[in-house]
Symmetry: C2
Subunit: 206 residues, 2 copies
């Protein structure tokens, strides 16, 4: 199986850079817990962490980049469940079942982290160093299917955007949008999309 | 046909607000043409236009909001072609053909406006007043198809994200990504996705 190991192991960094990263993420979580996402800015993060504004800027690029880093950090548990948890989220189930299970887990993860996820939009920047988790994992699973004519670099990006884009635009917890029922609706919609796209090629023993 | 008229006619605004909007957009284009997107900031826009920073902030919310407003403004020609141009982009073709034609036109539009489009990511903000053009138009066309089990509010948002997300993350004009061939690749990928999702229900006289 070709799941890339880079998920769990970020690119090597110098010891002082790693220390700064841990300090900045911990400080960002403190600020977030104390006063909410609106108060988490580059300036306050530099001041509270005692690091220079230049260091904060180089690490995150923009304010959205801080939230993206927090989201990436929270993602580790989900990554672990994908790599070595029980099927169908973990290995051992047919690829279409894993695609559906992944989308549902991702939707719940984004629902739990929605303030951070929304503030992270645009935070990876164009030409970010690593493609997002959703795109990597969806690509691995699609490659196991026989989809004649599919562009197996573009289709994962399309599906990852279809999975995450609508969630990040709509207020998931908005009572008018159905409250917690909204999560279930996104899960049903993801299953529908995967089944349409994978069609007969996705037929499993279910 | 239920195409909403709100595309062409933005919500009514007071005469002074409309004048400020026109002035701000014209000034933003000047700054963009002179010095590129990196130099278009809230501060410079306020200074050059001679309006208060508060006015600029209330109008756009964030720096990305300036770029979103520029993009919305450039979109008017595309809207006009959808509403009254020749088929299949305009009315008169089967809905699947119109979906494919719309996606291809949107890809070319974003490719032509890619610096602005990338800088606009996140600029509409969560809970923006109007859903984006892509989502509105895709919804209108999907409603004309018989798609059993489809969530006709969510599916348009999924497809709009699948259409635009990958373009805005990847450098379209990057020679390493194939230069102009990248646009064609996105068009082929969009056609593939629409045909999978619409399946037999999308059968046309082609």
């Amino acid at each position: 199986m070709s799941t890339p190991l880079t998920w769990g192991a970020p690119p090597p960094e110098r010891a002082d850079a790693a220390r700064n990263r841990r300090l900045l993420l911990a400080t960002a979580r403190e600020l977030l817990d104390e006063a909410g996402p609106g108060c988490l800015t580059m300036d306050r993060l530099a001041e509270r962490s005692g690091l220079g504004k230049g260091t904060v800027f180089r690490r995150f690029g923009t304010r959205a980049g801080i939230f993206q880093a927090l989201l990436d950090d929270s993602e580790r548990t989900l990554q672990h469940r994908i790599l070595s948890g029980p099927p169908p989220l973990g290995p051992g189930a047919p690829p279409v079942d894993r695609l559906i299970a992944y989308g549902c887990a991702r939707i719940r993860f984004l629902a739990e982290n929605q303030e951070v996820a929304r503030a992270a939009v645009g935070g990876r920047g164009a030409g970010g160093r690593r493609p997002p988790l959703s795109e990597i994992h969806i690509r691995v699973l699609l490659r196991e299917l026989e989809l004649p004519g599919a562009d197996l670099d573009l289709l994962p990006a399309q599906l990852a955007s279809a999975l995450e884009g609508p969630l990040l635009r709509q207020p998931l917890g908005d009572p008018g949008a159905g409250g917690p029922a909204a999560t279930e609706r996104f899960e049903t919609g993801w299953r529908y999309l995967v089944e349409r796209v994978c069609g007969d090629n996705g037929a499993t023993a279910r």
